[in-house]
Structures are given as C-alpha cells and as structure tokens.
C-alpha cells in the first residue's frame, strides 16, 4: 500500500498526510470528527484556538493555486501557527536549484510543517522521505496522484448532508484520468464504505484498469447518474478541450454536462458537488451550480475545518487539547 507506513508514526498516528489510500476507517472518521469540532471556531468572535502556537508552517506551492492555498492559510492562522507563503514556480527550480536544495533551505528556517502542491505525481511523497524527522508534510495536490484534503472535505460535506456514508451511491463525473481529486475520493469513499462509487466520462478521460480501484465505469451520463445520492463534478481543464482527448467544450457539455434534466436521473435528494473552480456551461449548467441541490459553496467553508483538523493531527494535537488550554 502506497504511503501507508510513511504516513503514520510508530504509534499509528498521522505524521504526514499524503494520500487517503491505505488509511484506516477509524483514522478517516477521526479526521471528520475533529473537523466537526473545529467548524465552530470560524463562527466565534475570536476565530482562533492556540493549538499550534509557536509552530511555523510553510505553504510550498510549486503550482499556482488561490483557493487551496488561502484555505490552508486561514486554517493555520485559526490554529495560531505562523505561516509562510512561498510560490515557487517550477521555472525557478528549473533554473538550477533542485527540490532537495529548496527543502533544506526551508528546513534551515526551522519550519515544522510543509504544505506542498506540485505538478508531479509523487512529489509530496518524495518530500516526506527527504525532510528532517520532526517535519510533517501535507499534500495539497501532487500531479494527477492525490489531493487528500480536498477528498476529506468532500467526505465531510457528504456526511453533513447524508449522516452516514454507508448505502450511498456516488458518481464522479468528468476527467478522471488527470484528476488527483477523483483518485483521493475513490480511496476515501471505499474506506468509508459507500455502496457504490461510479466514474462517468468518455473513454479518453477514464484511466486504464480504473476498476481495480473499486469503481464502476460508465460512459453514458444518464446511466451513470441513475439512482445516485451524490454527484461530484470534476473541473475540465481548458487544455483538455483541444487535441486528441475531446473534440470541443460544446460536445463535452452535450454528453457530460450536468443539466437539470440529467440530474433528474439521480435520487430526489441528490447533492451536487464540485471541487472548483467551476466552468459554467462546460461541465455544469449555471442553474444546477446555483440550484437547490448544489453544496459547492459549503465545500469551500468546510475546507478550512478539515485542514485545521489534519494540520493539528499531524502535529499530534486534537481539539480537546484546546479545551484544556483555555
């Protein structure tokens, strides 16, 4: 199992958070439970708990991001940590400094945690093998491999609406091939014990042997949505809309765009999710994105609580510790 040993310390506690794959049900549940405790912090007058006071967290973004980076930043601030934002474009590292050199420079600044986003699959894993033993690494998205905090905030959102995840049918729609979100969700949904996970998309965007991850493949949107409790739409990157993968955004929307009519195939209480940013009229119709089934904006606010939970846990702290320290 990838990452299984490296993610946990010798007592089985979370040390790094690199992938949802191979983690235990109880660990995922405690992440969700901790996030539940933290979600009230944002509603207080003083939006802070002192759990990570004195800790320094470096946001290492080798790939541009606004949404993910800012929620990590907010999460760190609400835990009273000091945060360092570094946008290291890949071109800068191409100019000479190797990734290892960059890391060792930052280690010399006495950071306690690296939040990493990188264009290459496996980058967070690689970094976790390179850093000093006291440093925790959180994967904020590596290539097409994993985006585990996004997956967990989606699980959190589903649990808010559906109570239990058992007996649910979940459809993930779109560019599965390039999606790190989809991979992390597939593993998390499997561990949390959903009835069925489906992936829906054209053959060109479904990776080979994806069934091995425990999903059902659908190439027809209506069939794929039939009877589902949750629809997760994936963003279609503009560069996929030309070339050999797809003929056009227009045709993609005709076949796989989520419209009200299509959504009628799902259960009446279906929820519609999207990791954002959304392409209106490409993967989702505006009236669905803004409609009564959509929980897209809730996902964003849940992102802060989930990231607080994961950051605290990798540093060996839990929400109860903050109750004690008050």
């Amino acid at each position: 199992m990838i990452g299984n040993n490296i993610q946990l310390d010798k007592n089985g506690n979370l040390k790094h958070f690199l992938t949802t794959e191979g983690l235990s049900l109880s660990l995922l549940q405690s992440i969700l439970d901790h996030a539940e405790s933290f979600s009230s912090v944002g509603e207080r007058a003083v939006k802070k708990v002192p759990l990570l006071r004195g800790k320094t967290i470096a946001n290492l973004f080798f790939e541009p991001s606004t949404r993910t980076r800012t929620t990590f930043e907010l999460a760190a601030k609400r835990l009273s940590a000091d945060i360092l934002n570094l946008n290291i474009s890949t071109s800068a590292t191409h100019k000479g400094e190797t990734l290892s050199d960059t890391l060792h420079t930052l280690e010399a600044m006495h950071c306690d945690m690296f939040v990493v986003r990188h264009a290459n699959s496996g980058a967070a894993h690689y970094i976790a093998t390179q850093v000093a033993p006291h440093i925790s690494v959180i994967n904020a998205g590596d290539g097409c491999h994993a985006h585990p905090t996004q997956a967990m905030l989606d699980m959190f959102t589903i649990r808010k609406h559906k109570q239990s995840l058992r007996n649910l049918r979940v459809a993930i729609v779109g560019d599965i091939l390039h999606s790190r979100v989809a991979r992390s969700e597939i593993h998390a949904l499997g561990i949390l014990g959903v009835l069925e996970t489906r992936v829906v998309g054209p053959h060109t965007l479904i990776p080979k042997d994806v069934e091995n991850l425990g999903v059902q493949v659908f190439h027809d949107m209506d069939e794929g949505l039939h009877g589902v409790d949750v629809v997760i739409m994936l963003r279609l990157q503009t560069e996929r809309m030309s070339g050999a993968l797809l003929p056009s955004a227009y045709e993609y929307f005709q076949r796989y765009g989520l419209t009200r009519k299509r959504l009628a195939q799902a259960k009446p209480d279906v929820i519609v999710m999207h990791p954002g940013p959304i392409n209106r009229g490409v993967e989702i119709a505006s009236d669905v994105a803004d409609g009564e089934h959509s929980v897209i904006l809730q996902q964003v606010s849940h992102g802060i609580a989930i990231r607080m939970a994961i950051m605290a846990m990798t540093m060996g702290r839990s929400p109860e510790d903050s109750e004690d320290s008050r």
Binding site: S100, H125, Y126, G143, D209
Partner: protein, 425 residues
C-alpha cells in the same frame, strides 16, 4: 603468460561442452581443452574445482557514459563492474555525448578500450545524424572505423520515410539495424506502463501500443527491405508474439530483453521507487511471463543488462523528474542464475542468452570456449550467494532496483584475452 584452469566444470551450451576438463591458455588464446598441448607448461594454475568455467559473457547493451557523462561513470569503473559479473564483451548504444555519428567518436571509444584493457567494446553507430531521426548517418564510414551495427538508441524516428530509407541504406552496407521499438507520440512524457499502477499513482503512462505500433511499422519495412534487424529490449508479451510471427515468416529478425524486465513488474514501482523508472517500462506479470516464454521458445535469443549508471541526483526527485535506467551490469549473471534457481529457465537457456547467442547477433567470434579463440573466460562458484547492497556496487551508478535481493552465484575469476581482470580473492 600461460595459464591452466584446472578441475573446473566447463559449461558452454554452444560448444556443447559440459564436464570436468582442464583448459589451457597461452598468450591470450585458448590453446587446449581436455588435452594438454605438447610441451605446455603453465606459469599459473587456477583451481576451479567445484566451479563452472564459462565463456566470457557478452552484454548487448550497456552505457559506459564515455564520452560525455563522466560524472555518472567511466570506462574504467563500469568495465571493472562488468568483469565482476564475468562480462568481457560489451555493445554500446550510440547515445553518448556527442553521439556516435562521426569517426572521431568511434576512435575515442577505441582508444578508451585500449587504455582500459578490461573488455571488448563494440560501439553501435547512430542510424541518423545526432539521433535526430532526419538525416542518415555515414553508416558505411562508421562501419569501416569499427562500428558493429547501426541504431537510433532510445531516440525516435518519427518519419516512416526516414525509417524506410535508413533500412534500405543499412541493407546496402550489409549492416544490422539495432532498433528500439517505441512510438514517440504514444509514449509522450510517459514513464511507467499504462495499467493499474499508472492509474493508482497518477503517473504519465506508456501504453503497450507504444511498442507494438512501432514494431509493426518496422516489421513491414524489414519485410520490404530484408535488412537484418535486431529488436532491442522488448517489454511486452504481445511484442514477443509479433517477433515470433515475423520469424515464422522467415524475416531476418532477432530480439533481446533487458534483465530487469525478467524480474520486475510495474508493481515494484509501488512507492514511486525511482530506481524502477526504466525505459522500456516495467510492464505487468503477463508481460514478464511472455518475455520468459520468448526465451524458452528461442524467439528472444539474448538478455542484456541495459546498464545505465546514474549519479545520485539523477534519481533524487519526484518520479517523473528522475532519469530512466538502472545500474545492472554486475548483477546480469546472478539475476539469470536467480531465474534458474526459481526454475523459470534452465541453466543452458540462462547461459546461452549471455554468451554465444548475443555473440551471434553481433557476428563476433566470442561467447564460446574453443581452441584458437581469445581466452575470455568466467569462473563461477554456484555455491555462493550475495545480498545486493547499493553502497558496495563497483559501478559508479548505485541506482539498483534489486536492493536487498539475495542472488545466487559468485564469479571468482574473469579473464580477458588471457589476463585476469577480476579475482574475487
């Protein structure tokens, strides 16, 4: 120097030698087998009791990194590593820096070979200038200066027209083409087999079709031009079946496989192990079985190390950013013996693909034990075994994917032209 190798069990599948005989060497040449030549007295006796005496091994593909990449390895370091595994003949692909497309580079390689005095080095000439896949190289001139064949290393020849003309021209020169079949457009930025592992790890993938599409195009041109073609480093079971069919049709084609692909599969990449980042990629267990079957059926007649020593930095990065290739030259023989031990191949098969059969592909008089031949000899103790430790590799490249494997067999002596170039003691 006159040497007697005493009491050893001579093993040479090609010469059909298999039994305990003494072997006599004088002035770098084998002068007697079984029967001591009249008046022969030896300066040195090597006691090979209980050991196998094999022809020096022939490796069809190893990078010695000279010229151009001495920060990775040198002739001296890599030939020494090769000798420790009984290798005395090495064929080098043309992707040196600069590439082997001028006689100056060939001369340099010959000079380094003479300086090193550890192995016969057979350079392949670039099929196209700069391996760019556009302009034909001066293959005849390069052949005259000592290149043993032509190839385009790992570089693609995108144009079917250029490939056809290169085949035609090589045929006119009587040259064998050494082709690595991989379609560039299908490979793209890929680094691993397209399958369960690429999907799980989200790594850019190389479909099996990258090999089979390139093979089918090349085989059609072989049929048309009748150029003798050796397909280097097959990776898929389907690729093996295509070569088998071509051979049944009577086409002049042969094939080899890299030793890693006989032992490892995509599963070994599991935690982004960059030492398993190889080109061709490790494919699945079905492919591994298909490659072994190819050897058993005589479709694949050689196994090469595909040795690619790297500096530590080349492998210290996220998987896709690392350089492909493994340091394998000193484990080529033990890895083949491992297959024998696991009963996946017979000893005859395992030794045949490392000696007379690759020599036949190159058209050289090496790889057999016979009176009158150069005394390139490997003495092997089958009772010993060793655990692979990257730190103690003789090769300058420590990038082995076999860390911690216990491999059978230990070479105790290697002789090159009658000189002892490796002695375990």
């Amino acid at each position: 120097m006159r040497i007697t190798i005493e009491h050893g069990c001579l093993f040479d599948p090609a010469g059909q030698l298999d039994g305990q005989h003494d072997l006599y060497i004088a002035d770098g040449t084998i002068v007697g087998i079984k029967h001591r030549p009249d008046g022969f007295t030896s300066d040195l006796q090597i006691d090979a009791k209980g050991k196998l005496v094999l022809p020096g091994l022939v490796d069809l593909c190893a990078r010695l990194r000279e010229p151009g990449q001495v920060h990775k390895a040198t002739f001296q370091s890599e030939c020494r590593a090769a000798n420790s595994s009984g290798i005395t003949s090495i064929c080098c692909p043309p992707d040196t820096q600069p590439v082997i497309d001028s006689t100056a580079v060939v001369d340099l390689i010959h000079q380094r070979t003479r300086d090193t005095k550890r192995a016969n080095i057979y350079p392949l000439a670039a099929l196209t200038v700069g391996l760019q896949g556009q302009q034909l190289s001066e293959m005849d001139t390069l052949q005259r200066s000592g290149c043993i064949g032509v190839g385009n290393a790992l570089a693609p020849i995108a144009s079917a027209e250029v490939l056809r003309r290169a085949f035609e021209y090589a045929h006119s020169c009587g040259l064998t083409v050494f082709l690595f079949a991989e379609d560039h457009a299908l490979r793209k930025q890929g680094g691993v087999h397209e399958g369960a592992i690429s999907t799980r790890l989200g790594l850019p993938a190389i479909p099996e079709a990258a090999e089979t599409v390139a093979l089918s195009r090349a085989l059609l041109f072989v049929e048309q031009t009748q150029v003798k073609t050796h397909f280097c480093r097959l990776s898929s079971a389907r690729g093996v079946r295509m070569i088998a069919m071509a051979q049944e049709q009577g086409l002049p084609v042969s094939a080899d496989v890299a030793v890693c692909n006989l032992h490892l599969t995509e599963m070994d990449i599991a935690d982004y192990n960059s030492n398993c980042h190889l080109q061709p990629p490790l494919r699945n267990e079905r492919d591994r079985q298909g490659l072994l079957k190819g050897i058993k059926q005589g479709v694949i007649t050689a196994v090469c190390s595909d040795h690619q020593p790297h500096d530590a930095d080349a492998k210290a990065a996220p998987f896709s950013q690392t350089e492909a290739g493994a340091s394998t030259i000193e484990h080529l023989l033990p890895l083949m013996l491992h297959l024998v031990k696991r009963k996946e191949l017979t000893l005859e098969q395992a030794i045949g693909v490392l000696t007379s059969q690759p020599a036949a592909i190159l058209g050289i008089d090496k790889g057999t034990l016979a009176v009158g031949r150069a005394a390139d000899i490997c003495i092997l103790d089958m009772e010993l075994s060793a655990i692979v430790d990257a730190a103690t590799l003789l090769s300058a490249g420590k990038n082995t994917p076999f860390k911690g494997w216990e491999l059978p067999g230990q070479v105790t002596h290697t002789l090159y032209n009658g000189a002892i170039v490796f002695n375990q003691d």
